[in-house]
């Protein structure tokens, strides 16, 4: 099993930070709702502390995802081939734009993904800040609670859009190249 260094970074960005964020976000929506609305669920200091740490971890994941995406993977995606290049395999954006059947993955997918993804860290940083500041007292601020849940939902939606198009674009025109990373050696049959 082996993959290229660029493929590995794409994996870290998408499957590592991005997918983990989405999983964490679905949990955060449930926990924030339960913690701030359910009268049956006791808001213990331990549960509050856990949710604060959980949200901080989500902030780290969100910023890691957009920073690796924008400054590590995206430059490889949009690399310009030298004039006369016939094989566009190492230039995903140009490869997608070269065919009417695939250009939409860039003009709609990547154009949307690259901007909407940045809503995620901004929104979740605000959510974490508000929760750290108010904690269990958020139960007594109905409007603020609605705003916090709204921003969390939008961050989930934005991460979903970015994740979906990231995965689909990488299927059609994968970011590949660089050193080969050997994960394990198999047997030939």
């Amino acid at each position: 099993m082996e993959l290229t260094m660029r493929g590995l970074w794409t994996l870290v960005h998408g499957m590592g930070f991005g997918a983990l964020y989405m999983l964490a976000c679905s949990g955060a929506i449930v926990e924030l709702t339960r913690f701030t609305t359910s009268r049956a669920m006791p808001a213990t200091p331990g549960a509050e502390r856990f949710l604060k740490v959980y949200l901080i971890a989500m902030v780290v994941l969100a910023w890691s995802a957009v920073l690796t995406g924008t400054y590590v993977v995206y430059p490889w995606y949009r690399a310009v081939p030298p004039p006369g290049t016939v094989d566009l395999a190492g230039f995903p954006q140009r490869l997608l734009l070269a065919s009417a059947a695939t250009s939409g993955w860039h003009s709609l997918g990547m154009e949307w993904k690259e901007h909407v993804a940045w809503f995620v860290p901004i929104a979740i940083t605000m959510v974490a800040y508000v929760f750290i500041r108010y904690g269990r007292d958020l139960r007594n601020h109905r409007q603020l609670r609605a705003g916090v849940l709204g921003f969390t939902l939008v961050s989930f939606l934005a991460a979903g859009v970015a994740g979906f198009f990231g995965a689909m674009i990488d299927k059609v025109a994968p970011v590949q190249g660089g050193e080969i990373v050997h994960l394990s050696r198999g047997e030939t049959k």
Partner: protein, 92 residues
């Protein structure tokens, strides 16, 4: 919350402006390998943080109408989301 919404809205507006004007696009090209996206996101983050500090400072001893501020924030966030969607951005 309002500052975060303004930051998100700024991402959408700057991306749209860069798309419509070659001069703005070129001025947002802070880091050549990433292109204008580097400028769009850096400027939007600066706007978000500056607005956050300014609003925090101005409202530190005032009672603000939370309901109206939160509604404004959610409207800005929604508009920002719509503006990042390419078919809608192409209308402008």
């Amino acid at each position: 919350m309002l500052a975060a919404a303004i930051g998100c809205f700024a991402v959408a507006v700057l991306a749209l402006a860069g798309d419509k004007s070659a001069a703005i696009k070129s001025s947002l090209n802070f880091y050549r390998p990433t292109g204008p996206l580097s400028g769009v996101t850096t400027v939007a983050i600066v706007i978000w943080l500056v607005v956050w500090v300014l609003l925090g400072w101005r409202w530190r001893r005032r009672t603000v109408a939370a309901g109206r501020v939160i509604v404004a924030a959610l409207v800005l966030l929604g508009l920002g989301l719509l503006l990042t969607f390419p078919p809608i951005a192409d209308v402008f």
